[in-house]
Every structure is written in structure tokens, then in C-alpha cells.
């Protein structure tokens, strides 16, 4: 089966009347890294919580590797590891005890060698006998990942894995996620950080106000929605753009020293050559030029604006 998770018609209305999810359809492919992007309160955590069994759905169905999460919850849940957003731990337990507990809770026979490997991979092995409350924030985050991995899940949910985490640790985390993917684990991560999705994900889903606005291959998304800009640094400042160049919809910087041309790189004709020729004809000389490509962040902001 291609899809390891299949969400169909999933809705959630909380007792307060707040509708967190509106008939969500989403398929996660086996072995991919899927990034779920969305602003605060968009429904990211609700969606994850339903799939993991923490929140009851109001409507709809979720299949995890073919198992219904309600009727066949044991099979479904035993395949999933969840790293929650909040650093919630049993402060007085030791690292080793809490990881062993998690493995048992998910119905797996004790396997000290495997747990040792997990702790070593997460640089927690020398802390195995420490009480959790003595760990730093970054270590606690890694411990939550170790707990989630303790029962050898096929699917790992990372809810905001790098929120409040320093740059080095973020790099380590990304490295870890890649190595997990290489080991065959499907990874779904939610994030505010667009560069994280851009760096990590194979596919990206954008959720806004409880609706999946878009699901796309990252490269495709960047290609489709990406705009390019060419900026020309002029030899001498311009007061205004000559009327003959109106068709190019150029932007002039406030000091008149830079002209910016925005174009669609997918278009057959970018218009660059014509523009340069026309500039030449208008005797506007430039000393340098550079091009920039819109980041996922720009795309994201555009999408959310459209969604409203």
C-alpha cells in the first residue's frame, strides 16, 4: 500500500463550539517526510491528536497502515510514535526508567540493547540514570523523541520539534529525522518555521482554519508558486521610471538607485532580454544585477492571504 496514513472527511468540533477541523482529507505516503504548515490555531495539533488517539474525532475516518484508529486502535497506535509540542515529562523518573516505561506501554517486550542504541543516537546515554528534572530543555526534547522511538514505530509525529531549540540542536534534529527516514520511518512534522519544511520535507501540506489548503511536492510547490526577481543596481539614480518601460511593471527603490523586475520563471518568455534591450535604448546603465527566488515563506504567506 502506498499510503501509510489515510484521513478522510475528518472534522472536529470542540465542546466550546470551536470547529478545529473541517472535513479534512489527507494521505501520507509510506517513507516520506511530510511537513504540515500552518499558523497558530490552524488545527495542526488537533489533526495529529486525533490520529494518535488523544482527541476524539467528530466525524470522518482515519486509517493507519490500513487499520481504523477507532475500531482497530491497538494495531494503529502501536505503529505510531508521538513527540508532543510541550515538554511534558515525569520529572522524578530517570531517563532509563521512562524510556523503558514507554516501550512497555506500547506493548513491546523489554529490549535494553535497542533502547541503548536509541539513547546513544540521541546523545542521552550518559544521562540514562539522571532524573529528568536535571536535564536541559534540549535534552528533554531529545528524551521525548527517545520515548516516541522506544517501541520502534513505523510512523513518527513531531509536533513542533524545534520550537524553542537553539540552532545547533535544530541541525542535529534535522540530521536525526533524515536518518530515521533512511531507516524507513515515515515522518510527519508540524512547524512554524518555514525554512524547516523547506529543508526537510518531501511534501508539504498547508492547513489554515481547519482546512487543508494545499498538499504538494515541495519542489513542485516551489516551482509553481515561486517568483523570481531581478534587481539592477543603476550607475546613476533615476527620478522616475521612463514611461516607455511601463509594461514591465518595474519597482524603483526610494533612493532611485535600484530597479526591480518580477517575473515568472515558468513563463516561456521571461522578458529579461527585452527589458535589458529597452533599458539600453533608454540609456539607463547598470553596474550590477542579481536575481532572487521567493522562499517557501513568501509562498506560504501568499497562500494564507488567498485562503482568507
Amino acid at each position: 500500500m502506498q499510503n501509510i496514513i489515510s484521513v478522510s472527511g475528518l472534522s472536529k468540533t470542540y465542546a466550546s463550539g470551536f470547529q478545529a477541523l473541517k472535513s479534512v482529507h489527507l494521505d501520507i505516503r509510506r517513507g516520506e517526510i511530510f511537513a504540515l504548515l500552518g499558523p497558530n490555531g490552524a488545527g495542526k495539533t488537533t489533526l495529529i491528536s486525533i490520529i494518535c488517539g488523544i482527541v476524539n474525532a467528530s466525524e470522518g475516518e482515519v486509517l493507519v497502515d490500513g487499520h481504523d484508529i477507532v475500531r482497530d486502535y491497538r494495531a494503529a497506535r502501536s505503529k505510531i510514535g508521538l513527540v508532543p509540542q510541550e515538554l511534558t515529562t515525569d520529572a522524578f523518573e530517570s531517563v532509563w526508567a521512562t524510556v523503558s516505561f514507554s516501550r512497555g506501554l506500547f506493548g513491546r517486550r523489554a529490549d535494553p540493547a535497542y533502547l541503548e542504541k536509541v539513547l546513544r543516537d540521541l546523545s542521552l546515554w550518559d544521562k540514562k540514570d539522571s532524573r529528568i528534572l536535571t536535564l536541559s530543555g534540549g535534552m528533554k526534547r531529545r528524551l521525548l523523541i527517545a520515548k516516541a522511538l522506544s517501541h520502534e514505530p513505523q510512523i513518527l509525529f513531531l509536533d513542533e520539534p524545534t520550537a524553542g531549540v537553539d540552532v545547533n540542536l535544530r541541525r542535529d534534529m534535522w540530521q536525526l529525522v533524515r536518518s530515521l527516514q533512511a531507516a524507513g520511518v515515515t515522518i510527519i512534522l508540524t512547524t512554524h518555521y518555514i525554512d524547516e519544511a523547506e529543508e526537510m520535507a518531501d511534501r508539504i501540506g498547508v492547513i489554515s482554519r481547519g482546512e487543508i489548503v494545499l498538499v504538494e511536492e515541495k519542489s513542485e510547490l516551489m516551482r509553481k508558486l515561486g517568483k523570481k526577481q531581478m534587481t539592477l543596481q543603476l550607475q546613476s539614480p533615476l527620478e522616475r521610471i521612463p514611461p516607455g518601460l511601463d509594461a514591465y511593471r518595474l519597482d524603483l527603490s526610494s533612493d532611485g538607485s535600484e530597479l526591480t523586475y518580477t517575473y515568472d520563471k515558468q513563463a516561456e518568455r521571461t522578458g529579461i532580454i527585452a527589458l535589458l534591450r529597452d533599458l539600453n535604448d533608454a540609456e539607463i546603465a547598470f553596474k550590477d544585477l542579481h536575481t532572487t527566488q521567493s522562499s517557501l515563506e513568501d509562498i506560504f504567506v501568499t497562500l494564507l492571504k488567498d485562503a482568507k
Partner: protein
């Protein structure tokens, strides 16, 4: 059946007992000893025997019941409330465990703890007064049934409570008064007739009476009635737990 999960939760809870040994075991033993000093030695020496049993010995079953009820409720309610409070309950809810398994492991651990405690108090009491157990099998049966029943009750309170105050409320306002008025320190035959009748509405009377019968053959109500009432409470709490889990009450949104 996820036996690994039951064992994991049970061991986790028992580890918590070991960590909090002072609070879990030592403090109830000290407070029980104080009861013996006050009621057994100081006041008890001036009180006549109750139906041929010295007053100090007479109160032993009641004292054990008092600790058993309060500790079962306290242990079990804290055990399930604390993960809700810290947020670690997410793991329990996302694990491939049935509600029955969750309840069995938490209640089992809490009951184990209070049974141990009951036996320790019994041993402590033996240092102060001569004790005989007329019906050991019934004594153990009542001990276990009561521990399980009130651990279930504690589990329900722990799920219901959404702050620490509520967690204390039921033990403080219901369990303790009912135990003190439930014949722990006296035979209800010592009461005026009107109060005797009123007391029969107190469920703890049946627990204490049955338990005391297993020690001294002395009972306020027939032992069969005591057993019946204990089983009735057990069934009642089991039904409430089943309802909680069916509806996800206070656990799942």
C-alpha cells in the same frame, strides 16, 4: 491484552511508592501509632472492655480501615490525576492500551500499596495491644476487597478532579467523616437508638463491622451483609469507571 503495558504502568506506580516511601508508608504508620498512644494507652485504659475485647484491641480493625480507605483513595486519585496535571497523560492516551488495562494497572498498584500499608499497620498495632484474628481468610478478603473498591473510587476522583483542591475535597469531606462516624472507634450498639438507625446509612459501618468480625467475631451487622455491601460498592464503582471510559469523560476532548 497488552500485558506489557499493564506491567509497565504497575511498575511505574510502585516505583513512585518507593520514591515517596516516607509519605506513602511511614507517615500513616506514625499517625496510627499516635492513635494507639492516645486512644489505646491514654484514654483506652479508662474505657471498659467492649464485648470482652480490650478497647485498644477493639479499635485496631477500625484504624486499619481508616488508613485503608483514605490511602486507597489518595494513592489511586493521585496516580491518575498527576499525569493529567503534568500533561504526560498524552502518552497513555496514545498507547495501544484499553481502558480496562489502564484502570486495572492504576487500581492494582494503588490497592497493592494500601494492602501493604494495612498489613504494616496491623503489625505496628501488634506491638501495642494483643491481637487475634479469628477468621484470617475473611480478614484478607475484606482487606483486599476494600482496597480495590476504594482504589477504584480514588481513580474516579482522580479523573473527575481538575485541580488539586478537588482532589482533596472528597477524602476530606466525605471519607474521613464517614470513617470516624462509621464505628471505627466504637461499636454502634453504644449509640442511642435514633443514631444507630441513622448510622446504618453510612456505608463505612458495613466495612468496619465485617472487618472487625474477622478479628474478634464481633459485628454490628451480619457479616454477609458486610460482604454484600462491599461487593455492591465495588460493582457501583466499576460501573462508573466503565461509563467514564465509554464516554472519555474528562480524559478526551
Amino acid at each position: 491484552m497488552n500485558l506489557f503495558a499493564i506491567r509497565a504502568i504497575y511498575r511505574f506506580e510502585m516505583a513512585r511508592t518507593r520514591r515517596t516511601l516516607l509519605q506513602s508508608i511511614v507517615s500513616p504508620v506514625i499517625s496510627t501509632s499516635l492513635y494507639f498512644v492516645v486512644f489505646g494507652a491514654a484514654i483506652g485504659s479508662r474505657i471498659a472492655e467492649v464485648d470482652g475485647v480490650s478497647y485498644g484491641a477493639f479499635i485496631v480493625p477500625g484504624l486499619i480501615m481508616l488508613s485503608l480507605l483514605t490511602q486507597s483513595v489518595a494513592n489511586a486519585s493521585f496516580g491518575i490525576y498527576f499525569p493529567k496535571f503534568t500533561g504526560t497523560i498524552y502518552e497513555l492516551l496514545s498507547a495501544p492500551v484499553s481502558y480496562l488495562e489502564i484502570a486495572a494497572s492504576y487500581v492494582g498498584a494503588a490497592a497493592t500499596k494500601s494492602i501493604l500499608l494495612g498489613l504494616i499497620i496491623l503489625a505496628t498495632a501488634g506491638l501495642f495491644v494483643p491481637i487475634r484474628v479469628a477468621h484470617p481468610f475473611w480478614m484478607i478478603l475484606f482487606l483486599v476487597l476494600t482496597a480495590v473498591t476504594f482504589s477504584l473510587f480514588g481513580f474516579i476522583i482522580g479523573i473527575w478532579a481538575d485541580n488539586f483542591e478537588k482532589l482533596q475535597l472528597v477524602p476530606l469531606l466525605i471519607i474521613t467523616p464517614l470513617t470516624f462516624l462509621g464505628g471505627s472507634f466504637y461499636s454502634i450498639s453504644m449509640l442511642p437508638p435514633v443514631w444507630r438507625t441513622i448510622t446504618l446509612f453510612n456505608p463505612v459501618v458495613y466495612l468496619v463491622s465485617g472487618f472487625r468480625w474477622s478479628f474478634y467475631d464481633l459485628a454490628d451487622v451480619h457479616v454477609g451483609v458486610s460482604l454484600g455491601m462491599t461487593v455492591l460498592f465495588l460493582a457501583l464503582f466499576l460501573m462508573i469507571v466503565a461509563w467514564i471510559f465509554r464516554t472519555g469523560y474528562r480524559l478526551k476532548t
